[in-house]
């Protein structure tokens, strides 16, 4: 290239990375100039996080080189990268809430005088550092746990700068911020630019990307699709680069209009800490797909409906009767089942048997003694019906494959004869064969009269399975799409290139 940009701070050439034989990154090139904001966009799973981890020393690449100011570097760990001047601001902050701002900023390299930590010096330096990025209102001796999220982010940035970072990676920096805090971050980013710091800015939100960056690199399925100058591109063009793959897999037939039963669940004006103004109807016999980015409120919606973190405002009616879903127990008794996103953490009890796992919900909800034997028989039948493959019902569930574990979880809920099923990423981390078995099961349940709500980040799955799609953004419903929608439609709603009114 022969443009007038200064020599790049960071140059990535042909970066590749595989995990267990799966190619996650393939030949990715990218460079960042001093004082430049270079945005990296892509769908969930496009390889953004892996790329950032390689730059910040978290992973070693299988191929390609990382050059810093023209010199090839190999980082053996995050500390290596830090010393080389690369700071990363994660979505979850790496801060100690019980310690002060200064103690956090200088953790690991506290200034010492005659062998003792020089607190005054530490506070002064922190204050100067904060002032240099325009944050004079933040006291260096404030306890981090008492700060707001935006201010904690400032502390993270100061911590990176205290190590003389020349390149900062920001991974979804606005994900945790409220609207008015985003403005503050914009100002901060610009001041960092003025100091000549290069920024790699990873974000789902195209508005931010257009507001801040000078160039944008689009990743898809581990490859770099293109790098464009922000000034010469449009949001629609970006979205087209981000998606666009062939629909190859097979999905079961959708519900015909006559299959749809009465309205099972109505949510009106509901909200809680993470959700606002949710209006939703779910009919018997249908599969309602919920799209949106991570953190857009999809899981929060399922968790609210299942009473994990209940709605604090609004009304929910179930089969025409108002209900209050205060806890998972009340939700279960109302006939709602929830297959969680985090199967390992919330779905299974790894060291218990398949049978115990499948009986978990029925045991919890029904009186201890009544019909125990009958229940066990029924659950064994269900396990056979969902075709769990393994050594037997008495095996510990952790030895099963992800797909089979998921089937056990499903059997657990089916034992309660639920009328409403909430699926959160039902096929994440599951092999192809088991995936289509689960798709068939979900559709069969709907056909038998259950109302299904299915959250999925897998766009082909979302489009292939749903009778209707609701897309969420920032804790609200951004819009509704028919089954015939395209991937572009979903992404456009999810990242906010379309105004809600137009949707």
């Amino acid at each position: 290239m022969s443009d007038p940009r200064p020599a790049p701070l960071l140059t990535l050439r042909g970066i590749g990375k595989s995990f267990l034989g799966v190619r996650v990154l393939d030949g990715v090139d990218l460079d960042v100039a001093p004082g430049e904001v270079h945005a990296v966009v892509g769908e969930n799973g496009a390889g953004k996080s892996t790329l950032m981890k390689i730059v910040s020393g978290g992973y070693a690449p299988d191929g390609g080189t990382v050059e810093l100011a023209g010199e090839p570097r190999v980082f053996r760990g995050p500390r290596d990268a830090q010393r080389a001047g690369i700071g990363i601001i994660h979505q979850e902050f790496n801060l100690l809430p019980g310690r002060t701002v200064a103690e956090n900023v200088y953790l690991g390299h506290e200034p010492v005088r005659r062998g003792f930590v020089d607190r005054r010096e530490m506070l002064d330096r922190t204050a100067r550092l904060l002032a240099s990025i325009g944050e004079t209102a933040l006291p260096a001796d404030a306890r981090v746990g008492r700060l707001g999220v935006a201010q904690q982010q400032v502390v993270e940035i100061a911590k990176a700068l205290a190590l003389d970072a020349r390149l900062l990676i920001m991974d979804e920096p606005t994900a945790a911020l409220a609207d008015h805090e985003v403005e503050l971050l914009y100002g901060l980013v610009r001041r960092l630019q003025e100091r000549g710091i290069g920024l790699l800015y990873v974000s789902h939100r195209l508005t931010e990307v257009f507001d801040l960056s000078s160039r944008i690199t689009v990743l898809k399925d581990g490859r770099r699709v293109t790098t464009v100058d922000t000034a010469t591109t449009t949001a629609d063009e970006l979205v087209r680069h981000m998606v666009g793959r062939e629909l190859s897999s097979y999905y079961p037939e959708r519900a015909a209009p006559e299959d749809l039963g009465p309205v099972r669940l109505t949510v009106r004006d509901a909200g809680n800490r993470k959700l606002r103004d949710v209006d939703l109807q779910l009919r018997a016999g249908e599969v309602l797909g919920i799209g949106g980015l991570q953190g857009s409120g999809r899981s929060a919606l399922a968790r609210a409906l299942f009473g994990v973190s209940p709605f604090t405002t609004g009304d929910v009616t179930l089969d025409g009767r108002p209900v209050r879903l205060r806890s998972p127990r009340t939700a279960m008794r109302a006939g709602i089942a929830y297959v969680t996103e985090d199967r390992k953490g919330e779905g299974i009890v790894p060291r218990q048997s398949v049978l115990d796992n499948a009986l978990l919900a029925s045991r919890a909800v029904f009186a201890a003694r009544s019909g125990r034997a009958a229940r066990t028989v029924r659950v064994r039948e269900l396990l056979a019906a969902v075709e769990v493959r393994g050594a037997g019902d008495d095996q510990e569930i952790r030895f099963l494959s992800g797909g089979n574990q998921q089937k056990v979880v499903l059997a657990r809920w089916l034992a309660l004869n639920p009328r409403i099923l909430l699926f959160d990423e039902p096929t994440r981390g599951i092999d192809v064969g088991a995936k289509s078995a689960i798709h068939d099961l979900v559709r069969r349940l709907a056909r038998d009269g259950a109302a299904v709500l299915m959250i999925s980040s897998d766009l082909p799955e979302l489009l292939g399975m749903s009778d209707r799609i609701v897309v969420m953004r920032d804790g609200r419903i951004a819009g509704e799409l028919p089954a015939s929608a395209s991937e572009e439609d979903v992404v456009a709603l999810a990242v906010g290139t379309v105004r809600e009114a137009a949707a």
């Binding site: 100690l96 953790l107 390299h109 707001g148």
Partner: protein
């Protein structure tokens, strides 16, 4: 973001000192009604003696708990230290310093073992230190039937019984050790790193802290404190005592004092000043009940209630802060 939350972090007086004051006032009144006097010379002196012994152990325990670890072997280290000290002194003043040095060295070695087990071998601290404790117990039980060795007379006269007014020398030793620990926590890198490791090991590691080294150091310091407590007990008893640590319940009582003093059992939050408050509170309750000649079992019940109440209060506070 309210203005209030921007106030600099104050170092609040741990609630334990409020509880301590209340206990002393109420205790004084109750003892008065009963026809006694809580703060006469002999009760005050014995209260401070009790506090000195437990305090030395508890300050060490605070360090490991702050770092997210725990030490259940302290009671056995205390017993071992009394024996090593008393047997080496063998009743003469000549071997005073070597004996103290040897007792501390043996204690430090136990701490090093604890620390290595917890860090390098990744054994859960509860199990590792319990195991090391049982190992020491085996040695003590097989080697000793009763008291052994004789403490040097000088040590008995100084550390054991000398006092300035009502304040025993041993209590001043506790004050000095506490001061040193406080200073280490707030003014040394080791202290800052220890609190960070206890608060979030991953954050500490990513900030360049050598977690293992910090935790091993904390374990060594904890055992040294226990060893010091052992030397003090030897000076009180005049000999080595193979079961003094366990009979005094120094393991559980030290942990209780740390928790009552406001240090989070999970680590990362708290300090030694609160621990000393916890120690004084436990010692005061002892003193009051001794004055009232309350049944020993009932005394245990009250202690149990206080420990549970303290933890419940701290948990509630933590919840309110999080909200």
């Amino acid at each position: 973001m309210s203005a209030l939350s921007l106030l600099p972090a104050r170092r609040p007086v741990p609630g334990v000192f409020v509880a301590l004051t209340l206990t002393l006032v109420i205790g004084w009144l109750v003892v008065l009604v009963d026809g006694g006097q809580l703060f006469n010379q002999s009760t005050t002196v014995s209260l401070l003696h009790v506090a000195a012994g437990l305090g030395l152990v508890a300050v060490g325990q605070t360090l490991v708990i702050l770092g997210g670890s725990l030490d259940l072997s302290v009671a056995y280290v205390i017993s071992l230290s009394t024996l090593v000290a008393a047997e080496t002194m063998n009743g003469s003043d000549g071997a005073l310093m070597p004996a103290i040095g040897l007792a501390l060295a043996v204690s430090a070695a136990v701490g090093l073992l604890n620390g290595l087990l917890v860090t390098k071998f990744r054994v859960n601290a509860f199990i590792a230190t319990l195991g090391v404790g049982l190992l020491l117990k085996g040695y003590l039980d097989s080697g000793y039937d009763g008291p052994a060795g004789t403490t040097s007379p000088t040590l008995v006269q100084t550390l054991g019984y000398q006092r300035i007014g009502p304040v025993p020398l041993s209590f001043l030793l506790l004050v000095a050790v506490t001061g040193a620990a406080w200073f280490a926590l707030s003014r040394t890198r080791f202290g800052h790193h220890l609190v960070a490791v206890g608060g979030d090991p991953e954050v500490a590691r990513l900030s360049g802290v050598r977690n293992d080294r910090v935790l091993v150091t904390a374990h060594v310091l904890c055992s040294l404190c226990a060893g010091l407590a052992g030397i003090y007990l030897a000076s009180r008893l005049g000999s080595g005592a193979p079961r003094v640590g366990t009979e005094g319940l120094y393991d559980l009582e030290s942990i209780a004092a740390v928790v009552i003093g406001g240090t989070a059992l999970a680590g990362g939050r708290g300090g030694v000043i609160g621990t000393v408050g916890g120690v004084l509170l436990l010692a005061s309750i002892d003193a009051i009940f001794n004055q009232l000649e309350v049944d020993a079992f009932f005394k245990q019940v009250i202690r149990g209630v206080i420990i549970i109440a303290a933890v419940a209060v701290y948990a509630r506070r933590a919840m309110r802060k999080a909200a």
